[in-house]
């Protein structure tokens, strides 16, 4: 049944005297980047389907400050952080989920010291919990049953925060044929976008980092590359286009894979 979802904002809920179970922190990429917006919509669809009462900040959300901090602009980072913390503390936010590992790392690790204390989850972890609790079931054998899928570890999820198993558990629940790339988990190769590289051209070298990563992707012979980060999504998609493999290798976010396997999105 085709349904049009109405996404609540914190302001709307507060006006009704309600509070959500969880705040969905969308992030800049998830809000503005066309490809990442599809991830946001897929994840919102999942939250709706499992009946989690969630809300977003909507236009009250602002950049966490991560790219500014990594590029050295601590002033701008702290200004952003203080502004976001004021908003979230005003709404008495307790729990946050985000599909962006950069937002996740900053909210979870760098906000508490500035007065923002929340339970912060990356969506890989929440999806794993929902699967474990039986609240997400892959129906009809699943779209990805037996498909060769590899997971590209995001640096800010993996090495930065030690989350390696949750995304893999989600993929295993799809009944997919999970294969590892040569460089994975703690030895995973960066997509090239972290540390504010997303926002500038790379320094002079002999190769782009995402092209280097394509060697691992092609060697794995995966049909689907699963990502858990909107920046990795951009870099991997560009890399696959560069290798002219876009008809045989597809890049999906974990949320998209789960939503597709459940028939929530096409």
């Amino acid at each position: 049944m085709s349904t049009t979802l109405k996404i609540d904002t914190m302001a709307e809920l507060a006006a009704r005297g309600e509070a959500p179970e969880i705040l969905f922190w969308v992030g800049c990429a998830g809000s503005f980047d066309d490809r990442a917006r599809r991830i946001t919509r897929a994840f919102a669809a999942i939250l709706h389907e499992v009946g989690i009462k969630f809300a977003v900040l909507g236009t009250e959300e602002s950049c966490t400050g991560d790219p500014a901090k990594r590029a050295g602009n601590e002033f701008l980072f702290q200004m952003q952080a203080m502004q976001n913390i004021q908003v979230m503390n005003m709404y008495e936010v307790k729990k946050i989920v985000t599909a962006c590992p950069h937002c996740f790392n900053t909210l979870k690790n760098e906000y508490p010291d500035l007065g923002g204390n929340y339970e912060v989850l990356h969506h890989a972890t929440l999806l794993q919990q929902l699967i474990n609790e039986g609240r997400i079931k892959v129906q009809g054998g699943g779209t990805f049953k037996g498909k060769r899928i590899t997971f590209h570890d995001s640096c800010y999820l993996g090495r930065a925060n030690g989350i390696y198993e949750a995304p893999r558990a989600v993929l295993e629940a799809l009944d997919a044929d999970l294969v590892e790339m040569k460089r994975s988990k703690a030895n995973g190769l960066c997509c090239g976008a972290g540390g504010a590289q997303m926002f500038k051209e790379a320094e002079k070298g002999n190769k782009e980092v995402n092209i280097e990563r394509m060697d691992d992707v092609l060697e794995s012979k995966a049909e689907v590359v699963a990502a858990a980060c909107p920046f990795c999504m951009t870099m991997l998609t560009d890399g696959i286009k560069n290798k002219e493999k876009e008809s045989s290798i597809h890049v999906y976010d974990l949320a998209e894979l789960v939503a597709k396997a459940n028939g929530l999105i096409d």
């Binding site: 790392n105 540390g195 320094e203 070298g205 280097e212």
Partner: protein
């Protein structure tokens, strides 16, 4: 008697010179900015036991890991014998523990000899890996000259020390009143037919070579990458326990931001009396770095595991995390020498950023933490890179122009791209899904 006196003088000189150099290095490290790394002592001891004592990160590369552990175990255990050598040297005794331990002594020394052979073998393998086998990480530009010579010298000195120990015992193996041990008995035929006086001379020469060699090597350490055998322990103890992705929030900036966000603050107010003048934001030179980064620099043994996994370096960019560490140490040594000469630091017109590390290098870092993960002694090059970037962004205003635009976008519309903030929620417009639930 004369031998004892000579020995005592050499021992005191060797230990004294080493101690003087260690004090200097400690002073150099604390030229850095304060940072508290004394919380959670139990976790710190555990980390040190696992990573430094237990060599847990070495084995992620099995070949290098195996031979490194061979040298490590050999060196640590054989040094127990140095205790006996020192006592013998001071009192003019010979193998003072032998009568005390009896047969057990023979077993222990035999075991040490086996370890000694292991060390010899590993040193030869490492010389081969460094000089014959084309291992890219030993051929990087920053390894040209002294770093390569240093590595080879260490291995050759270790071969000399172990050979002296084994040959000394082999000479004794030919003495009817002394006798050899497990390995030296097998080596004994080397000196077959040598006169008793000759054997005694060989034994003495090897004994002196071994102990003087150790004292000399000890004093070579502070000038060499080999200093890591000591520094690995404090460096792992003081390592960051928080998740690798967590960067510190600058305290100096916190104060400024609090003022800016305080509607009652008077921006023109003069600073309170006795208020500290604000320091430099970020790091331009080594003194601006937290002291832990300087400890990191002295702990680096230039193995290059960091550089070999760095996404920037492997795609041909200038950035090499190992070079960041070596540059920091070399600049710190230069600053230290400046202080030794002048009593306190006299501006030499040089700085870490600019004269050693270029903007191009630090800008190429993706902060992916692969270097941090790869380091066998928990060195953090990203921390130095971040401090240098802070200086570039907040003091020098010399960031790449695209980063300048990105900063502007975040300030103006709350996103790193130039999209109107009002569109932030547009993703939710017409969000249609194939829900299996009945209600919308």
């Amino acid at each position: 008697m004369i031998q004892s006196l000579v020995f005592i003088v050499l021992l005191a000189a060797g230990a004294g010179l080493f101690a003087r150099q260690v004090v200097r290095i400690r002073r150099n490290i604390f030229l850095g900015r304060p940072l508290d790394r004394t919380d959670r002592p139990a976790d710190r001891w555990k980390t040190m036991a696992r990573v430094a004592l237990g060599q847990s990160k070495m084995v992620s590369r099995p070949v290098a890991g195996f031979f490194h552990i061979l040298i490590y175990v050999g060196f640590v255990l054989i040094n127990i014998e140095v205790l006996e050598i020192v006592i013998d040297g001071i009192f003019g005794t010979h193998r003072i523990f032998k009568p005390l331990l009896g047969d057990f002594y023979n077993v222990v020394i035999g075991f040490f000899e086996v370890l000694g052979v292991g060390v010899l073998l590993a040193c030869v393998v490492f010389l081969w890996r460094r000089n014959v086998q084309p291992l890219a990480r030993f051929k990087s530009p920053e390894m040209t000259g002294w770093p390569t010579l240093d590595a080879n010298l260490i291995l050759i000195i270790e071969i000399v020390l172990m050979s002296a120990l084994l040959l000394m015992n082999a000479a004794e193996a030919n003495m009817p009143d002394k006798g050899g041990y497990l390995v030296s008995n097998m080596l004994a035929p080397i000196f077959a037919g040598v006169s008793p006086e000759g054997l005694h001379l060989i034994e003495r020469v090897c004994w002196w070579l071994h102990i003087v060699g150790i004292l000399a090597f000890l004093n070579y350490l502070p000038y060499s990458k080999h200093f890591h055998i000591i520094m690995a322990f404090p460096n792992t103890w003081y390592a960051q326990l928080e998740p690798a992705g967590q960067l510190s929030n600058m305290e100096s900036v916190k104060k400024e931001v609090a003022l800016m966000m305080d509607p009652n603050a008077n921006p023109y107010a003069a600073p309170a009396d006795g208020a500290e003048a604000p320091g430099r934001f970020g790091a331009k030179d080594v003194q601006d770095l937290p002291w832990k980064s300087l400890l990191d620099a002295y702990s680096c043994t230039e193995c290059g595991r960091c550089t070999s996994v760095c996404p920037a370096n492997t795609t041909g960019k200038l950035l090499s995390p190992r070079k960041i560490m070596m540059d920091t140490r070399d600049r710190l040594a230069e600053v230290g020498a400046n202080i030794d000469k002048n009593g306190s630091f006299v501006d030499d017109g040089k700085s870490l950023l600019g004269d050693y590390i270029t903007a191009e290098e630090i800008q190429a870092c993706t902060t992916c933490n692969a270097c941090v993960e790869a380091c066998p002694v928990l060195i953090n090059p990203v921390s130095i890179i971040t401090e240098l970037r802070r200086y570039q962004a907040m003091e020098a205003s010399q960031v790449p122009s695209e980063w300048g635009l990105m900063f502007g976008n975040i300030e103006n519309n709350g996103a790193p791209w130039q999209f109107p903030a009002a569109d932030r929620f547009a993703w939710a417009d017409n969000l249609t899904v194939n829900s299996k639930k009945n209600e919308a």
